[in-house]
């Protein structure tokens, strides 16, 4: 037998030491349990989130943009099916071989391949890279043919913006890829970074962008530690952007664009009561579709270097001296301020000498004795020199501002320019010099410092034509405007037009003035006088736009021509009687025309500007005539739709 040395005392010693060990174990157990409680109970939420963050990965995709329609429901900016090719780098077996293969199949340039490689490096290996977002059908089918050997590549059918007509490129604008500046400017883009996402850059696409862009969809996958997709957990289709109806008439847009073909200029048409912009066309135009998938350098350079600046929306960004189209406004200002009356007569002998300077009338041999109506009708410059002299520039500028000049009027268009309404204060601040009386005279016929956009001229005409109320332009149907608020209050918008044309004094009380339009006049007779003089200018022999009149009674309109100089005419040139057509293009006069129609029951105002087009009566008025005819032909149709809208969105 082997002895157990020590016996009882040893066993006791072992027992004692075991007790110490057991106590130590208890401490360890408390430690482990405490840790379990802290991890699994106290901080469980945090770790659950972390675990989900591990598990799920999202792929975002762009929603279809809302459609932009005209007043009649015609789509101006629509969506079309496009074939895209995505590449997910981590799914490719041999990435460089795959890219080489794609290069051959799609005949890509080295530069394009380089761009793709750079893009792949800049993002996570599971994020798709768009190889092409607009494959032709031939390319798409070729890819599908070779698809079995192109692992990592996904042909995708998606939707992209398409613009069917180029007539509305400026007012609608265009979309393109999101730039850094867009991200800074538009906060809502922060969570919108998805493959193929487009953002509105100009025009309505920009103005309505936050609503029209929609909500991004996403596919959420469960992925394993190596990034492999295990299963689709959820799919959110996103939300298509809101679609919008506008006040535009696509048919008139197209007609106007056609009339301006090969010319530089703009045409604006608006409803003088509702403020609805019916036409806003600028020429020359460009193809907005080129921007959707990224414009190439050659096309871009062509657009940028073009003499007539196709990218500029001349209707709201083109600045022109208004020329004689301002004369109606000058007359109103003078009459309202009691400076002259309509009976004032002035002799025009072709020129007048004032303050040691000679001021010429456009008609070299002069108009003879003219009163105000004739001065407007035949556009006598000498008469308006005299009116302006008596009126003074500051009173004139006040009236001009009231009638919509010198400020941006179309909401949400960053492109819109304010223009210039000159006065003594303005000159002191901007140029730093005192005002000369001679400059007042030039201003009286719309020359000198004046800068106006075609849209402002159209609005000015509308405010005269509606009897002198501060209508405001709008372009998006349903957008709140003074008119819609007013119409809601009145509950009977149809009688509104009668109301505007009726004697105002007994119907206007203070509450309606607050809600609706503010009268811009002191005595509406003055407005009516100018409207009637415009009628003479178009419909009576001797009138400046008599040649462009419409004879059918319900089509008869009233308008005022304008020819604005872009250079100073020297005495020498005057003697030589150089014809405008013989001048170099850049020195030729701008041709302008403003009008409202029909005269009997005014409904619309129009402005036409032809850059370097010569005289207003020869080149601008005939174009306006064609637009007005179409406009009035389509009026019943428009009215019908308007009646249907009432109660919905006015």
């Amino acid at each position: 037998m082997i002895s157990d040395s020590g016996g009882g005392s040893k066993i006791r010693l072992i027992g004692r030491r075991m007790f110490i060990l057991t106590a130590a174990k208890a401490v360890v157990v408390f430690g482990v349990v405490g840790r379990l409680i802290s991890l699994q109970i106290n901080e469980s939420k945090k770790y659950k989130t972390l675990s989900d963050k591990n598990r799920f990965r999202e792929w975002k995709f762009a929603p279809p943009r809302g459609v932009i329609k005209d007043y009649f429901g015609e789509e101006i900016a629509s969506n079309e099916k496009v074939f895209q090719l995505h590449l997910i780098p981590e799914n490719a077996e041999n990435l460089s071989a795959l890219i080489y293969r794609l290069k051959n199949i799609l005949k890509m340039s080295d530069k394009a391949v380089f761009r793709i490689q750079k893009k792949i490096k800049s993002q996570k290996p599971w994020d798709p890279v768009i190889i092409s977002d607009n494959l032709t059908w031939a390319e798409f089918s070729r890819i599908n043919l070779f698809l079995h050997e192109l692992q990592g590549v996904e042909p995708i059918i998606s939707v992209a913006r398409v613009y069917r007509e180029q007539s509305s490129s400026h007012v609608i604008g265009y979309v393109s890829k999101i730039s850094k500046r867009d991200l800074q400017k538009k906060n809502y883009l922060a969570n919108m970074k998805a493959a193929g996402m487009r953002v509105g850059k100009t025009g309505l696409e920009n103005k309505l962008d936050s609503e029209i862009i929609g909500d991004v969809g996403h596919k959420r996958y469960e992925v394993n530690a190596f990034g492999k997709r295990i299963k689709e957990v959820s799919i959110d289709q996103g939300k298509s952007g809101k679609s919008y109806k506008t006040t535009l008439d696509l048919e008139l847009q197209n007609l106007s664009a056609n009339l301006l073909k090969d010319k530089a200029g703009a045409i604006c048409v608006m409803d003088i009561y509702r403020g609805d912009i019916i036409t806003m066309v600028s020429s020359p135009t460009f193809d907005p579709n080129k921007f959707v998938h990224g414009i190439n350098t050659k096309d871009w350079k062509e657009l940028i270097n073009h003499r007539d600046k196709p990218l500029v929306n001349k209707a709201i960004s083109g600045l022109y001296p208004p020329g004689s189209t301002i004369k109606g406004l000058v007359a109103i200002s003078a009459l309202e301020n009691d400076v002259v009356n309509t009976k004032m007569v002035q002799q025009c002998s072709g020129s007048i000498e004032l303050y040691g300077e000679k001021f010429h009338c456009w008609k070299k041999k002069g108009h003879g004795f003219v009163d105000m109506r004739k001065a407007i009708k035949e556009s006598c410059d000498v008469y308006f020199y005299e009116v302006a002299r008596r009126l003074g520039i500051d009173r004139l500028s006040e009236t001009a501002r009231a009638y919509g000049l010198g400020d941006t009027m179309v909401k949400g268009f960053f492109e819109e320019k304010t223009g210039v309404v000159p006065n003594t204060k303005w000159k002191k601040e901007r140029i730093g010099k005192s005002w000369y009386l001679g400059e007042t005279l030039h201003s009286g016929i719309g020359q000198g410092y004046w800068q106006t956009t075609p849209m402002q001229l159209c609005l000015m005409t509308a405010r005269i034509a509606n009897g002198g109320y501060d209508v405001e332009p709008r372009i998006v149907l349903g957008e709140k405007s003074k008119f819609s608020i007013f119409a809601e209050k009145k509950k009977n918008p149809k009688s509104l037009e009668e109301f505007f044309n009726s004697d105002v004094s007994n119907e206007f009380d203070d509450t309606t003035i607050d809600l609706g339009y503010k009268p811009l006049f002191r005595n509406q007779e003055n407005i009516n006088f100018v409207k009637e003089a415009f009628f003479g200018a178009t419909n009576e022999p001797g009138g400046t736009s008599y040649g462009s009149r419409l004879n059918k009674k319900e089509f008869m309109y009233a308008g005022k021509t304008g020819t604005s100089q872009v250079r100073r005419i020297t005495e020498k040139q005057r003697e030589l009687e150089i014809k405008n057509e013989d001048l170099p293009y850049e020195q030729r006069d701008h041709a302008l025309f403003v009008a409202f129609a029909p005269y009997s029951e005014p409904q619309y105002s129009i402005s036409v500007v032809i850059e370097h087009g010569g005289s207003g009566s020869k080149s601008a008025a005939p174009i306006a005539k064609k637009v007005i005819k179409k406009l009035l032909e389509r009026h019943p149709l428009r009215q019908q739709i308007h009646d249907n809208y009432i109660g919905e969105d006015v």
Binding site: I2, R17, M18, Y47, N224
Partner: protein, 336 residues
């Protein structure tokens, strides 16, 4: 185990169950063998396993940079796991024969120290820090229970601290980074800290009730490393939550308590020393493993007894438990 393969039976589960049954049989055989046999062959076992450890040095299989296994055709044997039991058995016998008065004599201190250092050095150079640590702990427990004075442990501890800087210079880079990473897991979240971070996420996300059987997303999506061996507790905690992990902990405490209470009934120093030491070592294996996956101590590579996948570890534990049972069954017999 079934859960680690996402519900595929054949891969690990089958093998684990077969092994469990096999070693359960071994457990029974060991139980019915007289304690005196284990007592008398303890030295032989120790030397035999030491021999195997030396064999590993020359003929061992290498896997992930460390040479630990012997290829026995039906099983890759990891002698270092067996050494955990072998050393306890050997030292229990050693102290059985020494009177409490002699324990603190230098002559009787040197022998156990050598018996301890040999295998530890062999294992540490495999390299396998975790197992060598656990072997050493097992040995030290026996020495402690045998009554060696505190001051010697203090000396040993001091010596260890002094040699630590030298020892660290011998550590492999991955071992160093594990220790550094333990101190600050966010130091390298995708590298060495990855395991700790993912394990904590898995356990924490289990919550009170767990994600459910086979629903542990951290595990089946491969975020969790070594989920069927060292991190089996993590997987269990993720799927069965706080209640599940508490249950497991409780079972291990019960096993430990049971071994201790068996030891308490024994009359021989050998039996008591062995049972107490084995119970404590068993508890420490569990504590080290759990502490590791819970991020309380550095990742050292220590399996969870019985649950972790691994033949040698299970074999060692089963033999160890078998000897405990043998002590219980044959408690009235003398060791002679």
């Amino acid at each position: 185990m079934y859960s680690t393969d996402g519900g595929q039976f054949a891969y690990h589960t089958k093998s684990h169950i077969v092994r469990f049954l096999l070693f359960f049989l071994l457990f029974f055989i060991v139980s019915f063998v007289k304690t005196s046999f284990w007592y008398s062959s303890a030295t032989l076992f120790y030397l035999g396993i030491l021999f195997l450890l030396i064999l590993v040095k020359f003929f061992g299989l290498t896997s992930s940079g460390s040479q630990r296994w012997l290829d026995l055709y039906f099983l890759n044997l990891q002698p270092s796991e067996l050494m955990k039991i072998g050393l306890i058995l050997f030292l229990a016998k050693y102290y059985h024969n020494i009177s409490s008065g002699d324990v603190n004599k230098f002559r009787y201190l040197a022998q156990p120290l050598l018996a301890l250092l040999f295998p530890v050095i062999l294992v540490i150079t495999q390299p396998d820090l975790g197992t060598s640590f656990l072997i050493a702990v097992g040995g030290i427990i026996v020495v402690w229970l045998a009554g060696v004075k505190m001051k010697f442990f203090a000396y040993l501890g001091g010596l260890f601290l002094l040699s630590a800087p030298v020892a660290i210079s011998f550590l492999k880079p991955y071992q160093k980074s594990r220790i550094l990473t333990f101190l600050d897991p966010s130091r390298d979240p995708l590298g060495a800290g990855y395991q700790i971070t993912q394990s904590k996420i898995a356990i924490g996300s289990g919550g009170l009730l767990g994600k459910g059987f086979l629903e542990g997303s951290q595990s089946y999506l491969d975020y969790l490393p070594e989920k069927h061996t060292d991190f089996i507790f993590t997987l269990f905690s993720e799927e069965f939550g706080f209640f599940g992990s508490m249950t497991i902990l409780l079972i291990y405490i019960l096993i430990t308590w049971r071994i201790v209470s068996i030891g308490h009934t024994l009359r021989t120093s050998f039996g008591r020393l062995y049972c107490y030491s084995f119970a404590t070592a068993f508890f420490i294996y569990v504590a080290v493993n759990m502490g590791m996956v819970l991020g309380l101590i550095p990742i050292v590579g220590a399996p969870l007894p019985i649950m972790s996948y691994g033949g040698s570890s299970m074999m060692a534990i089963m033999i160890g438990l078998g000897i405990v049972m043998s002590c219980k069954i044959h408690k009235d017999q003398s060791l002679g």
